[in-house]
Amino acid sequence: MIIRIILSFNVTEFIGRFHPVLVHMPVGILMLAAIFIWLAKSERFESLRSAISISLFLGMLSAIASCVTGFLLSKTDSYEEALLFKHQWFAIATALISLVIYYLHLKNRETKWVAAVMVIFVMITGHLGGSITHGSDFLTKAFSSSGNSGNSKSIPNVQETNAFSTVIKPLLDAKCIACHGPNKQKGKLRFDEPGFISKGGEDGSVIVAGNAAESAMIKRILLPKDNKDHMPPTEKPQLSKQDIELLQWWITTGAKYDLKVKELPQTDHIKSILNSLESGKTDEQVVISYFPEQTVGKAPEVAVQQLRDRGIAIVPIAQNSNYLSANFVAVESFTGKDLQLLEPVKKQLIWLKLGNMGLTDVDLEAVGKLPNLRMLFLQNTKITDQGLPQLSNLSELQYLNLGGTKVTSKGVGQLKGLKNLRQLYLFQTAITGDDLDKLRQLFSNTIIDAGGYEVPKLVSDTTVLKAPIGK
């Protein structure tokens, strides 16, 4: 009984699966051995000499064990062949070098240059192994602007281009072709040429033109990640939501290879994704953090109490935070002097609401001296362009509301040095049309909302339905 279980159990596969654990040993031990070899040259570390032998021996053994398990593992599943080939032979070379260096060391020969070569081989082998499991762009992903989207290059004038070759093919190249392409045809399926795509794999066609939901390709992409039939395999780079939506769109519209993007029907959503390909970046949300990560000391209690007595709602932004927000909404007969009360809490104050107060340009001087402000509400105050330059030192400012004031684009333009500004509100100001466009160019990272939204009049607004006559 037990024997039968053991026999039914794939021993080679089991051993092969130890590869991911074992590989780290030669990397670490051989590197360390090389370091010992070099350090032992100096008198100070001569004592390390005695450790070289044992570390080389262990490193050699683990390198050989890694090679064996790696070879077994490579037979159980399919990996990108080109990468696997290189990884395999570099690994064998590394193991051989470790044998040689151990032999040389035993013969008391000079080993430091061989050790240097060995280190290089270990690093190359490790990198190739990592590329197989994490994807070949794993290391460089941090530098690419488009995150994990298949479309990393921008496509100018996307509507005029061929839908398959400029939108779909790059996705397949990036995420599918490694296993379903010229080098490897898992499931006898190839995605590198239109002819192969239509032909399908060993289970038949994978694309039902006009019906994305019934297409085996889409079905398997949409399977939960823990399903073994999920594509791409869990350990491989995944398709982004946007990639999937583009694939679904292409299949739904007939899986045509010869049509331009504009010739295929598009929903608004797809249109916006396609447009985002033009700029080469996915529509990432502007990341806003209205409070600093680093902590700050407690504000002087007397100053806080003074503010509170004046009717200013001053509160920590959270129970465990010393940062403060202040709202002047309930202050009666406001004067510029009230702003002086903020001076003692200037380090802690990050949100300030002064909207609808009789604030003038002179008063902005005091506001400009609150260096940590992240949100500032100045809507419906008496400030003008003259006062604005006093805010240009608020380098942390992310949100600025100037709605309902007399500021113009000239004055606001002077704030262009505020690098962190993400949201700028200019509702009910004189800034419209061209001025607004200019400001938007000037503040390219800032969402500028000048409002003036309207809800159009529709016939249905005033139509009152009645019961049909006779009821």
């Binding site: 959503h269 916006s272 509170r308 129970q319 309930a330 909302d449 939204y453 139509t463 339905l465 009821k471």
Partner: protein, 500 residues
Amino acid sequence: MSDKQNQRLLKEAEHAVLQQYTRRHFLKDGAMGFGALALGSLLGGCFGKSSASSQTLFDASNPLVSRPPLFPGKAKSVIYIHMAGAPSQLELFSYKPELAKLDGLDCPQSLLEGKKFAFIRGVPKMLGPQAVFRQRGNSGLWLSDNLPHLATVADEIAMLNAVTTDQFNHAPAQLLMHTGSARLGRPSIGAWVTYGMGTENKNLPGFVVLTSGGNNPDAGKSVWGSGFLPSVYQGVQCRSEGDPVLFIKDPSGMDRDLRKASIDAINKVNHEQYTEYNDPEILSRISQYEMAYKMQISVPDVMNINDEPQYIHEMYGTQPGKTSFANNVLLARKLVEKGVRFVQLFDWGWDTHGDSAGNAVDIGLVNKCAKVDRPITALILDLKQRGLLDETLVIWGQEFGRTPMQENREGKKMPFKGRDHHSAAFNMWMAGGGIKGGTSYGETDEIGYNIVSGKTEAYDIQATILNQLGFDHEKLTYESQGRNFRLTDLSGKVITDILA
């Protein structure tokens, strides 16, 4: 008078004073003193935090002072719009083309077995969607033509497609949505929020309620009550026609100075009472008097929409001087701008059973939609242009949904097309306040009868609202009847899928 008599009188007086200090006081003080000392040192690591937070939040002398949330919240205030009576999701938000194919057919037995309905009896017929649906905005959210204006701001909305409740009658279902319990006696969400955070404008109430549609919600005023929380946290109902609060004007012959003098005199007596009895409710009462005095000026001021420009009136569709949903929505914006923490709107008249033209899903419902579509859309756009949408959480709520079957009250055919109460699956949506616009969460089956994924209960919605304000719904507690209570009782999880 003899000495003996004198002594007896003295003794009686002493006794009377001692009686004021009851066994209850003694036990309470004892518990607060020795108990707190012992427990605090013994269990500080385990319970110290939660009990401390529930102890310190209520400051009787200034119960509505602005307080920090547990963590920095995205939202500072909430506008919760509840459509009382429960509009039909199948004519507004839930696109079910399969249901159209079944229109007029008998409802299959499998859907009826073991189910209880408010009015449906026997075997009802299926009723196809009585509205045209389209995909809107970049997000492709499905919305019906009944809400054409809202469709233009679809990308600001996070739609909850699979909300569910276990109540199919209005009052308990409304209570569950707002107080976390289908039975009376629990504080409403607005009360919890003002208890937790106070309010930023000391001249206005922290929690304001406005109703429209001709009736208060079926659950009555308990749905904005304070339950076992101090009464200062209950919603203040304001009227949008006539005096915003009844009896807010000084009676004739009483000028403002005299009013002030009389309130000062009352407060002086109350202070004396407080020094004698130490009852925090007295302090609370003093601050209430002072606030009422201030509100005599500030409330009529904020509740006056005459000063709004014509452009805003056209945008919201408001008509000053009348009670209307549109007026209430504009007021909600004004209140939030003025630092009010929680504004609760109820609009009555969505109970579309099909018993009259006004209650038909293809007549009355359409008319009702036309009345709310413009103001709600205007609210979202107006908050946006004022830079307030990110810190104001807007919620479209309802107590339950409506059946995919046509109602057949008492087994008879109804004169108009209507739908019965349906608790198993319906829609709600949120916008602003750190909610990710253009998202959609949860799924129902092909006819909108049951939930397939993304089940969302009242508790989950409450937990999400509190989360956006900066509270962990499990930690915002209040001790009553010997244990800590919380809004979400024993359930609730934040719907992280719709958060920005």
